[in-house]
Amino acid sequence: MSSQNTQDKIAFSDEALQLVNSIIKRYPEGKQKSALIPVLHIAQAEFDGWLSPQTMDYVASLLKLKPIEVYEVATFYSMFNLKPAGKCILEVCKTVPCWLNGAEDLVAYLEKKLGIKTGETTADGMFTLRTVECLGSCGTAPMLQCGASYYENLTNEKADALIDKLRVENTRKNYTDII
């Protein structure tokens, strides 16, 4: 999908607009606010992986909401980025079941390998490293999420291979990707 995000004009691609309209139809007449979270996911994927104030205002106008209604929601949920991030956000689960199975070692390994601390982005803008709470993958720990994909039962070797693969692909990974 290609959307415009220039200084003065911001708009979804036709394809994304169609999707937005089909999502609005899932809710009763007048309850289009329900579509807000799904539409913010689409907006984040369309506009460089984050929600700028401009993007949020655009979503507000599409759904006939006040901008504040969009800001309130965007700031509440952890999957929305309010600042630009790397193309590939590596989200390592650190909650107890994963911790019992080596999540801390995995984080330390990735920090060393990427030369960044948790929460930072590599200088080339390729990777952001984060720790997150339980992703419902505790039986296949340690694990991380990147975009729509779960990478489970990770070892240092598997992490190496994953980083190499992501570097070669060199594309932004979004939660909405079809995998």
């Binding site: 899932r26 009763p28 309850k31 606010k33 329900s34 579509a35 807000l36 979270i37 799904p38 913010l40 996911h41 909401l65 209604e69 309130e72 929601v73 509440f76 949920y77 952890s78 999957m79 929305f80 650190k94 909650t95 107890v96 079941p97 911790w99 019992l100 199975n101 801390e104 709470e133 339980c134 992703l135 419902g136 993958s137 505790c138 039986g139 296949t140 720990a141 999420q145 729509a148 994909s149 779960y150 939660y175 909405t176 079809i178 995998i179």
Partner: protein, 444 residues
């Protein structure tokens, strides 16, 4: 081998598709319910089955359904809670990913029973790829006439949609979930009114867990009385357990309620014991919100009876010596695990996930996290341990939603059963400097 219902066909090739699912007997409950039963008769069977909500609270499903208000001309909604964010729990993901139609089938049968013509599956945002699997299954079900207008020529209409969240544990709490589904922040509502009276868009609504809804199909097929014969006492039926932590075979197991905990942990049919020759130290048997139990209280109750995987047995002894079945997120600790670090980890989780509406929860969770961090890194005092105990006691029961309790209980249980580990951290800061320190042995 215990009885399998939900996972009976999990390994059948192609079971994700409608065609294979049908071949294995899928959608029979929809046919039976819509063609031969009234909605109230379906509710009656669910009542007879003794089914208790599989989301964590264990509230009887049939009773919950019978509370739904039926004002004339007002729509009713069924909302499936697929938020699954309770640490240690991954059974709903497994079910939806492997046998998506089992949830769709349950949604149709349950919606029919409740008189809902529009239903939603609210799934956590991180499970985006699972939402696609569900959407494909729903499209197949529409195409085959199981959803949409005039299902099976009965005049009953149902639309079913998947709604994706965006990362917030609190949206698993049913009223926060409804707020989120309405496009708002996930702030739990003050109850009453309960969702059964005023739920989604102010209309009567039932919120049920994925596993609960998938189980309804089996109850309709076999009849409530037959279902109630499975399990033990008031813990009827089968239950999915997500087993993780330090065990040989982590994964999702369907158990007949009443299996001894010892068998569940050590037998090859289930967890397969503790790896690397280590010893069992402790377990959080029902997701992060339930009290941790040391090995001796896990395998046997305080009355020295064998502890069983059931609602009653796991809670036997109250919080003094028992825990809860909860969501079935079964987290096992071997003897290397530091309970202080585990408690600090959980307290970080609850501080992060508190919606911030009530002061005891908002302030208490961040205070507990801070103190636990100090203790964990050898900078705490003995008074801090008592302070921690006081803080947790001042959160419990004083908040809008049960997240406050869920944050308090793990801390209380850790201090109750593992106080010596907290004291060890205070007494020997040098020894706990290395975060991988060996914890002290259990006192005998």
């Amino acid at each position: 081998m215990g009885k399998k219902l939900l996972l009976e066909h999990i390994n059948v090739e192609g079971i994700q598709s409608l065609e294979v699912y049908r071949k294995m007997g899928g959608y029979a409950s929809v046919e039976k319910a819509i063609k031969t039963m009234t909605p109230d008769e379906v509710v009656e069977e669910v009542k007879k089955s003794g089914l208790r909500g599989r989301g964590g609270a264990g509230f009887p499903t049939g009773m919950k359904w019978s509370f739904i208000a039926k004002p004339q001309g007002v729509p009713r909604y069924l909302v499936c809670n697929a938020d699954e964010s309770e640490p240690g729990t991954f059974k709903d993901r497994y079910l939806m990913e492997k046998i998506p139609h089992s949830l769709i089938e349950g949604m149709i049968t349950s919606s029919y029973a409740l008189g809902a013509n529009t239903s939603y599956i609210y799934i956590r945002g991180e499970y985006f790829y699972v939402s696609r699997i569900l959407e494909r299954a729903i499209a197949e079900a529409y195409a085959a006439g199981w959803l949409g207008k005039n299902i099976l020529g009965s005049g009953y209409d149902l639309d079913l949609y998947v709604h994706v969240g965006a990362g917030a544990y609190i949206c698993g709490e049913e009223t926060a979930l409804l707020e989120s589904l309405e496009g708002k922040r996930g702030n739990p509502r003050i109850k009453p009114p309960f969702p059964a009276v005023k739920g989604l868009y102010g209309s009567p609504t039932v919120v049920n867990n994925v596993e609960t809804i998938a189980t309804v199909s089996h109850i309709v097929n076999m009849g409530g009385e037959e279902y109630a014969k499975i399990g033990i006492g008031r813990s009827t039926g089968t239950k999915l357990i997500s087993a993780g932590g330090n065990i040989n075979k982590p994964g999702v197991y369907e158990i007949e309620l009443g299996v001894p905990v010892e068998e569940f942990i050590f037998s090859d049919e289930y967890c397969g014991g503790i790896p690397n020759g280590r010893k069992l130290k402790a377990c959080v048997p029902g997701g992060s919100s339930v009290p941790i139990l040391p090995a001796h209280l896990l395998l046997k109750t305080a009355k020295n009876e064998s502890r069983l995987m059931s609602y009653e047995s796991l809670s036997d002894g109250g919080f003094e010596s028992g825990s809860m079945l909860g969501s079935g997120g079964f987290i096992v600790y071997d003897d290397r695990a530091c309970i202080v670090r585990s408690t600090y980890n959980f307290s970080h989780f609850y501080r992060h996930e508190s919606c911030g509406q009530c002061s005891p929860c908002r302030e208490g969770t961040s205070w507990m996290e801070k103190i636990l961090k100090e203790i964990e890194y050898g900078r705490g005092t003995m008074d801090d341990i008592d302070l921690l105990w006081d803080i947790q006691g001042n959160i419990e029961g004083k908040t809008i939603c049960p997240l406050g309790d869920a944050a308090a209980w793990p801390v209380a249980a850790a201090i109750r059963h593992f106080r010596h580990e907290f004291e060890y951290h205070v007494k020997y800061p040098e020894k706990v400097k290395d975060i991988k320190h060996t914890p002290p042995p259990m006192p005998v």
